[in-house]
């Protein structure tokens, strides 16, 4: 190609080279729109842009005034009308009001935590145990234990995993004037709310 162009016209581009360049550019431009089609593969259900009601198992919205201290409930988020999808472990969250010594008596959202219920080890469902002396999340399968204050695994196989796989994904909460609790739209990234089943980087 280079030897076909006139030898003294170093700057000029021959017609042939120009057309080749245009063809290449045209090919690229033709297929560029398809790059976005890669979004066909991931599940878009996780893209939530509006804040959602924190709906307790009994159907009511969680409220700061009524939710007992040192207590936990399983919450489905994002909730659908499909009973099968609602059974999905990846949609289950533990909504915890911390014990008093960890600030559970405060009347704002800082008294609450909401972690993905999927154990980071092998995806069993862990649970918060409010018994005195326990007050931690425990996985029934291989005994991983989670600190309710930040969702970090402190014992068991999950604690041996390297970050971000040792800290539970967490949802951010908000209250309105009536004390009702809302779930803010999450960002599914290890640096933000975390990825369900895979963990989150703990911000220091």
């Amino acid at each position: 190609m280079a030897q076909q162009s006139p030898p003294n016209s170093g700057r000029k581009v021959s017609r042939r080279d120009f057309l080749k360049l245009m063809t290449a550019a045209g090919t690229v431009m033709t297929f560029i729109p398809f790059v976005d089609w890669g979004k066909f593969l991931p599940n878009p259900a996780g893209n939530i842009s509006a804040k959602a009601k924190l709906e307790l198992p009994d159907g009511s919205q969680a409220n700061i005034k009524t939710f007992p201290v040192n207590h936990a409930e399983t919450v489905i988020y994002p909730k659908t009308n499909d009973q099968t999808l609602n059974k999905e472990s990846f949609r289950l969250w533990q909504f915890i009001r911390l014990p008093p010594e960890l600030g559970g008596n405060r009347n704002d959202v800082s008294a609450f935590r909401m972690y993905s219920q999927i154990c980071l080890h092998l995806w069993c469902l862990w649970k918060y145990w409010p018994d005195p002396g326990r007050k931690r999340g425990e996985c029934p399968c291989h005994g991983s234990m989670y600190d309710p204050i930040n969702g970090k695994a402190f014992a068991g196989p999950a604690s041996l995993q390297s970050p971000p796989s040792n800290v539970l994904p967490m949802l951010n909460l908000e209250t309105d004037g009536n004390g009702n609790i809302w779930i803010l739209p999450p960002i599914w990234s290890p640096n933000a709310n975390g990825i369900v089943g895979f963990g989150r980087f703990l911000k220091v």
């Binding site: 890669g38 593969l41 991931p42 599940n43 259900a45 996780g46 099968t84 999808l85 059974k87 999905e88 472990s89 990846f90 949609r91 999927i118 092998l122 995806w123 069993c124 469902l125 649970k127 029934p140 399968c141 291989h142 005994g143 068991g156 196989p157 041996l160 995993q161 390297s162 796989s165 290890p190 990825i195 369900v196 089943g197 895979f198």
Partner: protein
């Protein structure tokens, strides 16, 4: 159409027309060989793998009619297939055991080709596609046992997803793309991969992977199919426990082809290194092997380094596979303590296996070469082969007896099904397949024996097998063949049979040990041509090989021809 003078009716004309049409397609480029006698299955393990793939395709398609790839129905539908659907148990067991057999046979196939050096000289494409096919086969088997969605399947899915997630840079995106979000997506996607994406990729690669010469051995295929059914009858695969995320699962290990990987993961080291990088290293090594292997010979004895690497990989695979299965039986200890493998111990064993395997390989090569030299020095012993000479009428009797046995087995299988003994009926069907393999073998044997001319009568026949010099087959053709006595054996005496193998035997190790069918002989010829074309250029590039090796190689080539 009325039958013509040549005896062709419309059906024959139609078949001829079809044949002429097929003549234009790629299928005629393949050369199928139906061996006329027993040949070692090592030479056509690839064909057996393909037959298993076809068996898996058929049984899998049947299972698709009942399986439901849904989060809370998958396990129940498999249970339905296994317990309620008539013959669902049989189909599922054949499918399961054939999948294991396919992975196993594919591995054997690969190592046979590896040690016999077949991947060189224009077979590189076949080798590389073969390695990729092997990886996809394991993925195919893996996705298969995951979509049952038992406890074990769930553990396997979670491990696979976390391994994918652990890949640097692109991992999370890949995980999101291939696994979706949540169990519901996983089951559906694994199902799609299992029944369509991976098989279609395998088929496409198989088109590239097929050599032109193929051996299809009916008895061996039947025997393999029978063995699968017998295994299914003796070790019927269970359903596992349905996965319930709130209840602790029992200790489960993955399928045997993944326990090696599982052992690595149980060291609790970094997921990417243990679960992706190490197996990736093995696959990469296999992929580049034909390009790294600069030996100009084919036999494993003449390629010590390559052989040693192969033996090392086998040793490490076997040790890790066993280690993955082993769980400390002491239930006093905590689960974690029982499961976690001490990485220092583990990796030092892995490292120790390298010199051990190398030493073993070099020792074996030395022993084999010594034995070769000794065999050359000593006068030729009569070959250990002894043929079974069955009179013609006894062949008929055996044949009829086998047929009667088959009828009996058919009735037995029927009654076993009627009385609900599913695995026993599967077992019997397996036996039927084996008996058919035997019948076909006898039929083939009798056919070839009928073709060979009856042996000339000898005045004083020494007992068979005691002949000192086998290379002199019947010096005096005394008497006409028709004048032989009535008690003629169907097979000729061993002397005339072993003569052709003796002439070409010791020149090259692979050709003497492997079955010499027409197809493989052709391949050997072709590869030698390719090698002799290559040698002048490789002298110029001055590889560190001594010239003596090259000379020996040329001599070797001549000997084969």
């Amino acid at each position: 159409m009325v039958a013509t003078v040549t005896g062709e009716n419309s059906l024959v004309t139609f078949l001829r027309w079809i044949y002429a049409g097929i003549d234009r397609t790629i299928f005629m480029g393949l050369k199928f060989t139906f061996p006329g006698r027993f040949v070692s299955p090592l030479g056509f393990l690839g064909m057996i793998t393909f037959v298993l793939f076809i068996i898996l395709g058929i049984t899998g398609a049947l299972l698709m009619l009942w399986y439901e790839p849904e989060l809370d129905r998958a396990w129940n539908s498999v249970q339905n297939i296994n317990n309620t659907i008539p013959y669902g148990f049989h189909i599922r067991n054949i499918h399961y055991h054939a999948s294991n057999a396919m992975v196993m046979v594919a591995l054997l196939h690969m190592y046979y080709q590896y040690f016999s050096g077949r991947y060189k000289i224009r077979n590189e494409i076949i080798w590389v596609t073969g390695v990729i096919i092997g990886v996809l086969t394991i993925l195919e088997a893996f996705t298969g046992y995951d979509i049952i969605f038992s406890e074990r399947a769930e553990l396997a899915i979670s491990i696979a997803a976390s391994l994918t997630n652990s890949i640097p840079v692109l991992g999370p995106q890949l995980r999101d793309a291939f696994f979706g979000g949540g169990f519901h997506d996983f089951v559906l996607r694994f199902y799609a991969f299992h029944v369509f994406f991976l098989p279609i990729a395998l088929l496409g690669l198989m088109v590239v992977h097929f050599p032109r010469f193929l051996v299809f051995d009916v008895p061996m295929v039947m025997a393999v199919a029978g063995a699968i059914m017998i295994t299914g009858g003796v070790f019927p695969i269970d359903l596992g426990t349905k996965f319930v995320p709130t209840s602790p699962p029992g200790i489960t290990v993955p399928e045997w082809y993944l326990t090696g990987l599982y052992a690595f993961l149980r060291t609790q080291y970094d997921k990417f290194v243990t679960g992706v990088a190490w197996p990736g290293l093995l696959i990469l090594t296999l992929l580049v092997m034909p390009f790294v292997d600069r030996y100009r010979k084919f036999s494993w004895k003449d390629r010590p380094l390559v052989t040693a690497i192969g033996i090392t990989s086998i040793a490490q695979i076997m040790v890790t596979t066993y280690w993955g299965f082993y769980i400390d039986p002491n239930i006093q200890k905590s689960l974690l303590e029982r499961l976690v493998i001490d990485p220092i111990f583990f990796y030092s064993v892995m490292l120790m296996l390298v010199p051990l395997s190398f030493g073993f390989t070099y020792m074996m090569i030395k022993l084999a070469k010594n034995a070769e030299v000794k065999a050359k020095l000593q006068p030729k012993k009569p070959s250990g082969k002894s043929s079974i000479n069955i009179p013609e009428n006894w062949i008929y009797i055996v044949f009829v007896a086998l047929l009667a046995f088959q009828i009996y087995l058919n009735i037995a299988a029927y009654y076993a099904v009627l009385s609900g003994m599913k695995n026993f009926s599967l077992f019997i069907v397996g036996i039927i397949m084996l008996v058919f393999a035997g019948m076909f073998h006898i039929y083939r044997h009798a056919k070839t024996m009928a073709k060979t001319p009856p042996p000339p009568p000898k005045p004083m026949a020494p007992p068979a097998g005691a002949k000192p010099v086998p290379s002199a087959p019947s010096p005096i053709p005394a008497g006409l063949p028709g004048t032989s006595t009535s008690g003629k054996p169907l097979s000729p005496p061993p002397a005339s049979k072993s003569a052709p193998t003796a002439t070409q035997g010791p020149a090259h190790e692979t050709t003497s040990t492997k079955p010499v069918s027409s197809g493989t002989a052709n391949i050997a010829g072709a590869t030698n041509e390719g090698r002799s074309q290559k040698t002048p250029s490789s002298v110029e590039t001055s590889t560190p090989d001594p010239a003596g090796d090259l000379n020996g190689n040329v001599r070797d080539t001549k000997k084969i021809r």
